[in-house]
């Protein structure tokens, strides 16, 4: 690892003190800004999980399935079995890892890659979403459901912390830091070189003794587990889950878009993607709500404007900036440093 630089220390201190800064800067809207930060951190964790696979050319459109499984398994165990999330989340992780391996093994063994892999994982997302809707007696169908509130809503036993935004912030921050640690471990490990080689040329990688299927399964399991945990924590924070908010194709595509926007080959890329998409959505929402003429013309449908802008940006990123925002900035800085040497 790089030595711990002053910049890192300042960064960590700033993140730890952020709730204090928010309280002083926006005393009237403290809850709102903390909410924004928490959203960014939780989604960053999920995006980081996706990018572990995405960076090796395993572009999955199936991660909405894993966030969905994570959230629903935990909530259903809590609501119907009274089983604490401390057990529920590990169970959810095990379930989603099993699903990931069941789908992953044949895929990697048969070398299903590229758009075949994307379309197959897309089918997985749809399958899980349809199952959630189909089991409507338990899951509330397409209307979604809520985890049962325990006491006043802040409880270590029930892992609920939503009413206390500052506490929620620190929970999300720890989660996010764990995500970055996992990313860093993968980046430093031998598996990373194996997977890099495999993503370039599978035959060549296999010929030098890399067990391609095994390596891919390993990273898929880690990635699916992270998304399941992320989905569960998101459910605990939002205190609501719906098949379209935490599972399904929409979630999968959002994950892919955010990571591409931020940059999938650098550690903080997914985080930058989360900041970018969340801030973009919020800025658009606030601007639109503030402008009466826009609302008059389009009514409530005007909120779909952000979807349009997402789409446009996604295309522009893929054509002009495939390394994402952070990836491009870092590359540009490196070039400049090399030129000045």
């Amino acid at each position: 690892m790089k030595r711990i630089t002053p910049a890192t220390i300042i960064g960590v201190a700033a993140l730890l003190l952020l709730p204090v800064a928010v309280r002083f800067a926006f005393p009237a809207a403290e809850k709102y800004y903390l909410h924004l930060l928490i959203q960014i951190l939780i989604w960053s964790f999920i995006y980081t999980g996706w990018s572990l696979m995405g960076r090796f050319g395993l572009t999955s459109l199936g991660h909405g399935a894993f966030t969905g499984i994570g959230a629903y398994v935990m909530v259903l165990l809590w609501n119907y079995g009274g089983i604490t999330p401390w057990i529920g989340i590990p169970v959810a992780v095990v379930v989603s890892v099993i699903v990931a391996l069941l789908v992953g093994y044949p895929c990697f063994h048969l070398r299903i890659i590229g758009h075949y892999f994307a379309l197959l994982t897309l089918a997985l997302t749809e399958f899980v979403r349809l199952c959630i809707v189909g089991l409507r007696e338990f899951t509330g169908g397409s209307l979604g459901t809520q985890p049962a509130r325990y006491g006043d809503g802040v409880s270590l036993y029930a892992l609920q912390f939503e009413p206390d935004r500052v506490l929620s912030y620190y929970v999300a921050l720890v989660l996010w830091a764990i995500g970055l640690y996992i990313w860093w471990r993968v980046d430093r490990g031998m598996d990373r070189y194996a997977l890099d080689a495999a993503s370039q040329d599978e035959d060549a990688a296999a010929s030098v003794g890399i067990d391609v299927t095994r390596e891919k399964l390993k990273i898929t399991a880690i990635s699916a587990a992270m998304c399941a945990v992320g989905g569960a924590i998101y459910a605990q924070y939002q205190m609501y889950i719906g098949p379209d908010t935490i599972a399904g194709l929409g979630v999968s595509l959002n994950i892919v878009f955010a990571v591409i926007a931020g940059g999938m080959w650098v550690m903080l890329g997914p985080t930058v993607g989360a900041v970018f998409t969340q801030v973009l959505t919020e800025v658009l929402r606030v601007t639109i709500q503030a402008s009466a003429p826009l609302q008059k013309i389009f009514g409530s449908a005007v909120l779909a404007l952000d979807t349009m802008i997402y789409g446009l940006l996604l295309i522009l990123f893929i054509i002009y900036m495939p390394k994402g925002i952070l990836g491009t900035i870092l590359e540009w800085r490196e070039k400049k440093a090399r030129a000045s040497r």
Partner: protein
């Protein structure tokens, strides 16, 4: 779970057959694009959705239905050309997955634009064709018409690909992308024509679908995944494979829906799809993997 071998079961099977015609038509356009240009238009169902809105407004504006349908077909054929020129051409040489994601961006744009411009409420054309009743079973004429037109369109496309010069060029390109430009085939022109035909097929599907379904901005999400599944199941690029896969999937949906709930019909179809792909990754009729 009232799954019995009675007249309702037979009705479900026959209605599945009629649904298959529509799905086969939808899969055909996507397969043509993939076979020739080697790109997956993940926004294909959204093009259909835009076509449905176009036809809806043309018809409500006083245009006779057939003319409105023609407008829809031309409109989406043009949209196909635009999509190719603006989005596909710049990423033609990058990784396949980037091409797929770029059209994913188009999906977002079209869906968002439809919501902003047309609103979120369901729209209905208000044409009722009635239904054909026999032996206690009932089949709506719009479904029968869809089935007939879809089959006719597929036959026409087949004749076009077999007989016309450009059709032969299209088939040749899909077999060998490197050699054909050396043989004097203008690859850019072939790609444009293919995109137009693919779009036109989406427009035709839209014209048939407005007779059966309510229109709303998210309708693409309901059909999109299904179409990709059919294409992959039949072997991406294989038109005959897509045709047969459409019938298999439609029967799963129709019978599953009549035995259990609608979602389970779809869920079983998706599960079946995944299992088949694990056994034959190139699809049921795909030649090369």
């Amino acid at each position: 779970m009232d799954c019995q071998l009675d007249i309702f079961f037979l009705e479900a099977i026959l209605n599945g057959l009629l649904l298959a015609g529509l799905l086969a038509l939808l899969a055909l356009g996507l397969n043509l694009i993939f076979g020739v240009i080697d790109v997956v238009w993940i926004c294909y169902a959204e093009l259909v959705m835009v076509g449905m809105y176009g036809i809806h407004y043309a018809y409500k504006g006083g245009t006779p239905f057939l003319l409105a349908a023609l407008i829809g077909i031309v409109l989406i054929a043009l949209a196909g050309i635009l999509l190719h020129v603006l989005v596909i051409r710049p990423v033609l040489d990058s990784a396949p997955i980037n091409q797929l994601l770029a059209t994913g961006g188009v999906l977002f744009i079209l869906q968002g634009a439809a919501t902003v411009v047309f609103g979120i409420d369901f729209k209905n054309l208000g044409i009722r064709l009635g239904s054909y009743n026999a032996f206690d079973m009932s089949f709506s004429y719009s479904r029968l018409l869809t089935f007939g037109v879809a089959l006719a369109a597929m036959l026409l496309l087949w004749v076009f690909l077999q007989r016309s010069y450009i059709g032969i060029a299209i088939r040749a390109i899909s077999q060998d992308r490197q050699i054909m430009p050396l043989m004097g085939v203008d690859q850019r022109r072939v790609y444009l024509v293919t995109s137009a035909i693919g779009g036109g097929l989406a427009g035709l599907a839209a014209a048939l679908m407005v007779l059966q379904f309510d229109i709303y901005p998210q309708i693409g999400l309901q059909f999109g995944p299904l179409i990709f599944m059919i294409c992959v199941l039949g072997g991406l690029g294989s038109m005959i494979g897509g045709f047969i896969a459409a019938f298999i999937i439609a029967e799963f949906i129709a019978v599953g829906s009549s035995c259990f709930a609608t979602e389970w019909g779809y869920a079983i179809a998706f599960l079946f799809f995944m299992v088949v792909i694990f056994i034959r990754p190139q699809g049921l009729f795909g030649g090369k993997s």
